[in-house]
């Protein structure tokens, strides 16, 4: 946790890991940061809930349901989590 850029990269890595736990077949390099994750990764609502649970476990952020929309894209999720005190190891 040196500066925002490093932290952002660490958060991004944690988000991708949480996604990979649900969808092991995804290629992180091929993920487009500004396109809906549900669209790219074929997440159903159970998958999305597990994704949010994974984020809570790895980053310590309990995202309320009313904020789920802000996790729609990879960029959106990273920005939201950084703004809500994500703790990266």
């Amino acid at each position: 946790m040196t500066d925002v850029g490093t932290n952002g990269a660490a958060i991004r890595a944690a988000v991708v890991r949480a996604l990979q736990r649900i969808a092991p077949e995804i290629d992180p390099a091929a993920l487009r940061p500004d396109v809906s994750l549900r669209e790219q990764v074929d997440l159903d609502s159970m998958d999305f809930l597990n994704f949010v649970i994974g984020l809570a476990e790895s980053l310590g952020v309990e995202v309320p349901e009313s904020d789920y929309r802000q996790l729609a894209t990879l960029d959106g999720a990273v920005a939201y989590l950084a703004a809500h005190g994500a703790r990266t190891a």
């Binding site: 969808a23 092991p24 077949e25 809930l49 597990n50 949010v52 649970i53 349901e65």
Partner: protein, 462 residues
């Protein structure tokens, strides 16, 4: 060997979880069996002490074969093994067309202690399993003309598949063309672990499927030879194999459904504003891991409504309806990479919304990554398909035989809604019922949907 689906004829015992002398209770997991649907944990149907394991690890045995001998609690020694009774319970209905001889798999000798499937010298004329008969009829083949490799020389599904393939092959000279490769999920895992290219492994399983034993044999011989190493082709081949095997299972069940079941279809729109308000309030005060999905509330309502509509909850067996011994809700779960399983949530009507949510999470996770249990694959009394996440408005279901009803749930969308002379916008879901007209009538089905609607409008009481 329990039947874990109408199209299953053989299973491979991959692991014993108990040893002789162990005390077991009804419902305990005693073994792992590999089928083309994956590895399944087999539960025992009786309590007692394991006296003898009759089938060796790695053996492939027909459905109905005795796997183990159990001394029941009172000290009596039963003739057969309770594990085998599962086959009777889950046995497919007899084929409708010709007056068939007794199904070969059921007439198998009680305890083949060695690997089964050794061809018998003499084949009694016309013996074939129901699944084999159906496929042969579909493909215009005469079962009597086929070579049988099943117990007592009976023609099995695999024999018919071989015959279909042989007929499709351009010429016998084309031996260089590799057969389409299929491997069981377990075999795929083992192959990945051992670095074996599945495309190079000859399959000896049902329908030429590559089994774990095949992979291990290949790995052992590769250790002797210098040409080991996994080719990049392994991954796509194995994924395609798993997919193909599951497609066959779905094809068999759905073809039977559309051939045998006279479906009727009903639909209704349900105002979910009350249910979703309740859910939102609940979730707002819950930690992430404790949150509920609308699916849990919908399943709870379906389970309770089924209590009021017993004609929709059960199985059609031997030309008659058999009511389910409880509401065991099958939940259709799509798998990554394609395919579908619909394992059961046992006694769903006795589970709270929270318990249903936990059960659903567990089931989805195990269906996609781990292992399902034998009772989950055979006990479902009605199935629920929720395609709302895919944006579908209305599900036109296909009943999964021998069940008699399928409840379809579409997407929850905001729609204009008139109520008490006022027009408003409400979250609404279209719920459908596809049901077997042999077991119930539209009137009953309509009452079921009405009960579902009533229950969902009063979520606090769910």
């Amino acid at each position: 060997m329990p039947s874990l689906g109408a199209d299953m004829e053989y299973g491979t015992l991959v692991e014993w979880r108990v040893a002789p002398g162990a005390v077991v209770h009804r419902g305990d997991i005693v073994a792992e069996v590999e089928t083309h649907k994956g590895v399944v944990e087999v539960e025992i149907f009786d309590s007692g002490v394991v006296e003898e394991l009759l089938v060796a690890k790695g053996s492939r045995v027909p459905v109905g074969a005795t796997l183990a001998r159990i001394r029941s609690g009172d000290g009596a020694v039963p003739a057969g093994a309770p594990v085998a009774t599962a086959a009777t319970l889950a046995a497919p209905a007899p084929p409708p067309a010709p007056p068939a001889p007794p199904p070969a798999v059921m007439a198998a000798p009680p305890a083949p202690t060695t690997a089964a499937g050794a061809p018998a010298p003499v084949r009694p004329a016309g013996r074939a399993s129901p699944a084999a008969r159906r496929l042969a009829a579909d493909r215009g083949l005469d079962v009597a003309a086929l070579r049988g490799t099943g117990p007592g020389g009976a023609v099995t599904l695999a024999d018919v598949e071989d015959a279909v393939r042989a007929r499709a092959a351009p010429s016998p000279a084309a031996t260089a063309a590799p057969a389409p490769h299929r491997a069981s999920p377990l075999a795929q895992r083992v192959a990945a672990d051992l670095g074996v290219d599945l495309a190079t492994v000859p399959g000896t399983g049902e329908g030429g499927i590559v089994t774990r034993a095949d992979v291990e044999r290949a790995a052992a011989s590769a250790r002797g030879a210098p040409t080991a190493g996994a080719a990049p082709a392994a991954a796509p081949a194995s994924a395609a194999g798993r997919h193909a095997a599951m497609r066959q299972a779905i094809a068999a069940a759905m073809t039977r459904s559309k051939r045998e079941i006279p479906h009727y279809y009903l639909a209704t729109d349900v105002d979910l504003s009350g249910a979703l308000r309740w859910l939102e309030a609940e979730n707002a005060r819950r930690a992430v891991a404790e949150r509920l999905l609308p699916a849990a509330v919908l399943l709870r309502a379906v389970a309770l409504a089924l209590r009021e509509a017993p004609e929709l909850n059960g199985h059609w067996v031997d030309g008659a309806f058999r009511a389910g011994g409880g509401v065991h809700l099958g939940v259709a779960i799509s798998l990554r990479g394609g395919g579908l399983v619909a394992p059961a949530l046992h006694d769903a009507d006795a589970l709270s919304v929270d318990a249903l949510m936990r059960g659903l999470r567990d089931l989805v996770q195990r269906a996609r990554t781990g292992m399902l249990r034998s009772s989950e694959l055979t006990d479902a009394t009605t199935t629920v398909t929720n395609l709302g996440d895919q944006g579908v408005r209305t599900v036109f279901g296909v009943v999964y035989p021998p069940q008699v009803a399928l409840v379809g749930i579409g997407r929850i969308t905001e729609r204009p809604w008139a109520d008490g002379g006022m027009l408003g916008v409400r979250p609404v879901v279209t719920v459908t019922l596809a049901a077997d007209h042999r077991a119930s009538d539209g009137h009953r089905g309509a009452r079921f949907l009405a009960a579902l609607d009533r229950l969902l409008r009063d979520p606090e009481r769910l």
